[in-house]
Symmetry: C2
Subunit: 258 residues, 2 copies
């Protein structure tokens, strides 16, 4: 590896064979020395899960198309991948960690369920500049090509500028052709939630079971949110922090009779 | 159920048979009408994971000691438990959701890995006043009795006062006898992280595998943090928010050439 090229760790939550991570690897190969450590199977909705009661496997994979990067497939969650990459696989702390490109939205409240973003956040806790990327298209045939230009420019900016301490980026890209994307907007997370509808069924043995389905409800009309940006043709960039303290609430709680 | 008594949802991440949730149920039975929906097996470290590629089972359990509450055992994660409780089991939105008492610390950065806190946060996103409780004792023989008084008084305060919008409480209790606990402190999350050490082994088939082990590193010397409070004999209460936006970083990112 070159001394002057940045060292870039690539991971995701859809698994190492997902089309989204292939696009991300392709773009990162133009920016630095790339090492991929990603789950061996899909891990969507895993949030910030870690593997503590099970052994982890992590195997090098032969890169068949002759690309210069290294690849490792890991039996754990996205967060496990970052931990094992940084502590066992890489010789030094990477200059950048990118996660994705996720198949589907990680905007607004989705950030808390997202394995893609949890990998980025985990890298952030280790002091690594970090970005999670998502494309608002769940299809396995999603076209990731319009995303490339934005992925590249945002990664370049993070490599060039210093991210504020304790901050990682949550980038969502609308499902549009390249000419329809209006640009990039820095946003806040929209105030939204999921209203669940459970699909109740009975199995052949007579036991009830449920499938989780839900409806996304956005009650936030602000024009400075990620939801607004995405609906209006912009790529949204939300700075995300892992200090979850609601600092504004401390004063109020101190008036309680605790 | 009485009309005047609050409806309280109890869950956890250590599983429905863990000693910690038994203590929590006992205390909540003195405060309101209790419904327990908890994982059928331990779910530690599950973060905000949800079950989207699998069916969920959720079964009523006979409460054998004659307590007045209802209990349901669920095959999913702590977050799944909250979703299914609110949408399928309870007739109305609960007045309070309590999660725990977790076996082990959820202070500082542990909040992002914690299934206990994710259940509380999930309830928060649904507009339910919510608290996660943890005792700093990993032992299955941990003594939860000194916790009872603090669990009760904090729950009473949340029922009486209104939590600020978008805020849930992360309560950690030091491993001390009752007379040594100095009181309750409202705190911010300490700035800390985990430094992992992977224990690498070889299985009988010659394949390498890893066990995740780690060391908690607290670089935050502030006396207003949860770590300080716990080390100095106080119960820590951190107001936690699920708007992860680093609002202070938006202005700086807007100076970038995005």
């Amino acid at each position: 590896m070159s001394k002057n090229r940045p060292l870039i760790l690539v991971t995701n939550d859809d698994g190492i064979n997902a089309p989204g991570i292939r696009t991300l690897i392709e773009v990162m190969n133009t920016l630095g020395d790339v090492c991929v450590v990603a789950p061996d199977s899909p891990q969507s909705g895993m949030g910030h899960a870690i593997t503590i009661n099970d052994a982890l496997y992590c195997n090098g994979i032969k890169v068949i198309n002759g690309d210069p990067h290294r690849e490792f497939s890991c039996s754990g969650t996205p967060v496990d991948c970052v931990k094992i990459a940084v502590n066992e696989i890489l010789k030094r702390k990477p200059d950048l960690c990118v996660s994705g490109i996720n198949h589907g939205s990680n905007s607004s409240i989705n950030v808390i369920y997202s394995g893609t973003m949890s990998a980025a956040v985990e890298a952030g806790t280790l002091g690594i500049p970090s970005i999670g990327f998502s494309l608002l298209d769940y299809s396995l045939e999603a076209d990731f090509s319009p995303s490339k230009k934005f992925v590249k420019s945002i990664a370049q900016q993070v490599l060039k500028n210093e991210l504020p301490k304790g901050v990682v980026l949550n980038v969502n890209i609308p499902k549009l052709i390249a000419s329809e994307i209006k640009g990039i907007k820095v946003c806040r997370q929209a105030n939204a939630h999921w209203e669940e509808k459970f699909d109740k069924r009975t199995n052949p043995l007579g036991r009830d079971y449920y499938w989780l389905t839900g409806e996304f409800v956005n009650e936030d009309k602000g024009e400075d949110t990620d939801e607004w940006a995405l609906h209006n043709g912009f790529v949204s960039v939300v700075p995300v922090q892992f200090d979850l303290t609601a600092h504004h609430a401390i004063k109020e709680l101190n008036t309680w009779d605790l």
